[in-house]
């Protein structure tokens, strides 16, 4: 066997041995009650009690993070902290967990393993829609930042709105549709089920409950934008010009539309 081939083979085997060790250690240290499995890997002067302290500390941080991420959803549940503990016991975090993904996975776990009321499902739907907006903003950062820069000029453009024929209208690119089935998160005078638009409003997530006509206008603008208001007025089949202008103004004040 050539020396270099032998060296490469030995290195590959060594890496595979190392990989097996790390996989075993992570499996043991990412969940409580498995820490004793690390005992044989410990150096002299180290003991399993310290491994337990390490693991318990990590699990506490994970619990704190989930409590913070899902504070809103917790309002719809009794003893949500016990559900968090149960979820943590069900499995470890995944590698490269982004800011909200453990919370998102817990919400999926709740829907798959628990019997939930329609109101609880609406709370989960709301939180998942917020996560979806954040995820979209992460993937389309430049579009998000650019649109919010345009939004910063909205107040100025609204003053000239009626007289600026060339003003381009832009629809917020960071938006996600969702649906509430109950009145739990809607105004009393709403009629569920209701389609709700979640969108990036500055550094927060905004929501808009739109009637069918409003939804149609948003979907229409998604196809036409960017366009001037005059062009939209010409192209639309959804509203009269005066109504469209007023709606456009409202959408701008909400942060769903910007001008440039």
């Amino acid at each position: 066997m050539r020396a270099d081939f032998r060296d490469k083979t030995m290195k590959k085997m060594a890496n595979e041995t190392y990989q097996r060790q790390i996989v075993r250690l992570v499996k043991a240290m990412s969940r409580a009650e498995d820490e004793a499995a690390v005992a044989n890997d410990l150096a002299a002067g180290s003991d399993a009690a310290c491994v337990k302290m390490f693991v318990d500390g990590n699990l506490e941080k994970r619990r704190d993070k989930l409590e913070h991420q899902l504070e809103f959803v917790a309002e719809a549940f009794e003893e949500f902290d016990e559900l968090i503990r149960e979820y943590i016991r069900s499995g470890s975090s995944l590698a490269y967990d982004t800011a909200e993904s453990d919370g998102e996975r817990m919400l999926l776990w709740l829907t798959e393993t628990k019997s939930l009321s329609p109101e609880q499902l609406d709370y989960i739907t709301c939180q998942r829609a917020r996560h979806a907006v954040e995820d979209l903003a992460r993937k389309s950062r430049l579009k998000h930042v650019r649109f919010q820069e345009l939004c910063s000029l909205t107040d100025r453009w609204l003053l000239e709105f009626d007289s600026s024929a060339d003003l381009q209208v832009y629809l917020n690119p960071i938006r996600v549709w969702s649906r509430f089935e109950t009145l739990a998160l809607l105004d009393e005078d709403s009629t569920p089920p209701a389609n709700v638009l979640f969108y990036a409003a500055g550094e927060e997530v905004g929501t808009a409950v739109l009637e069918l006509e409003g939804q149609a206008l948003i979907n229409e603008l998604a196809d036409y934008q960017p366009c001037t208001l005059a062009e939209w007025v010409t192209l639309t089949s959804q509203a009269e010009p005066a109504e469209l202008i007023e709606t456009c103004r409202d959408l701008a004040e909400m942060g769903l539309v910007a001008f440039g």
């Binding site: 790390i22 240290m29 890997d41 302290m53 975090s93 995944l94 490269y96 997530v205």
Partner: protein, 282 residues
């Protein structure tokens, strides 16, 4: 030249980042990685040195760091005009698509771990190009069995990869206190292997229940750490780029923040004004 001095940014210390003693800031990547954020994380802060500190590259894992995570880290670094990026000598996950512990464990100091970690750091250094990468020595509650002493492992890693050393002085102090080795000798042994150095300083506490010093980032920098810091500056003369103070809880008032960073700067200026130990390069 005196290293740049400053804080790891926290919302609690933002109001004092205009202090004349501060010309460096460190961004913790996971805090800056807010998808809805519009402005850059450093905002209007005007300093000489910005560094981005990551938690999940996990260079001690057998697999290479995740490409998406590297991309996200680079995006934050570029957006904030960072000169450097850093992460920890440890592992938080098993494989790229596997499981996560949540915090870094020390690698077993073996030849296999050295090979894997060196390979991963080569990838990281190559990826970031002109943005220098630094590897931080961690504080650990336990050690895994190994065949290479820690100082030698770290020295070899630095020599092999050419990456910088983020010398966490408090971590050395904590580990030396808890595991009975000489912190001064540890730094003296590793320093020659480092081409460039940054430092972390923090204050922890002694946990009587477990009989361990905990690097909690929770208290003012204690006097033994300041002394070790001075020693490290003297040994690393000419190759220390920046020093960052870390605080994550039990925050001081405005005077407390300012007093501490001014003391860190005072010591650095004293050392750099009157060198007593020449830097050695391996």
């Amino acid at each position: 030249m005196t290293p740049a001095i400053g804080f790891a940014i926290r919302e609690q210390n933002r109001p004092i980042l205009d202090d004349p003693a501060i010309d460096a800031v460190e961004i913790t990547f996971e805090r800056a990685d807010d998808p809805l954020r519009i402005d850059r994380y450093v905002g209007d802060i005007d300093v000489d040195h910005v560094s981005v500190h990551a938690l999940k590259l996990s260079p001690g894992s057998p697999d290479a760091p995740n490409a998406e995570y590297l991309e996200a880290l680079k995006a934050i670094a570029e957006e904030n005009a960072a000169q450097s990026v850093s992460d920890h000598l440890g592992f938080t996950r098993d494989t790229d698509s596997g499981h996560e512990m949540g915090h870094f464990a020390p690698v077993p100091m073996t030849v296999e771990a050295l090979d894997a970690t060196s390979r991963n750091i080569d990838i990281i250094v190559d990826y970031f190009g002109p943005i220098n990468f630094y590897i931080e020595n961690i504080a650990y509650l336990f050690r895994l069995e190994g065949t290479i002493p820690e100082a030698e492992f770290l020295s070899k890693l630095l020599c092999r990869t050419g990456c910088g050393w983020l010398l966490d002085v408090t971590n050395v102090y904590a580990n030396a206190t808890n595991f009975g080795f000489d912190a001064y000798e540890f730094i003296a042994e590793v320093m020659p292997a480092a081409k460039r150095v940054q430092m972390h300083l923090a204050g922890g506490y002694f946990d009587d229940e477990v009989n361990l010093y905990i690097d909690g980032h929770s208290h003012p920098i204690p006097e033994p750490v300041f002394k070790l810091y001075r020693h490290a500056l003297e040994l690393g003369l000419g190759k220390v780029d920046a020093v960052f103070i870390e605080r994550d809880q039990n925050f001081p008032d405005e005077t407390g923040w300012r007093t501490e960073v001014r003391e860190v700067r005072r010591i650095a200026e004293e050392v750099y004004g009157q060198p007593t130990v020449q830097a050695k390069t391996a």
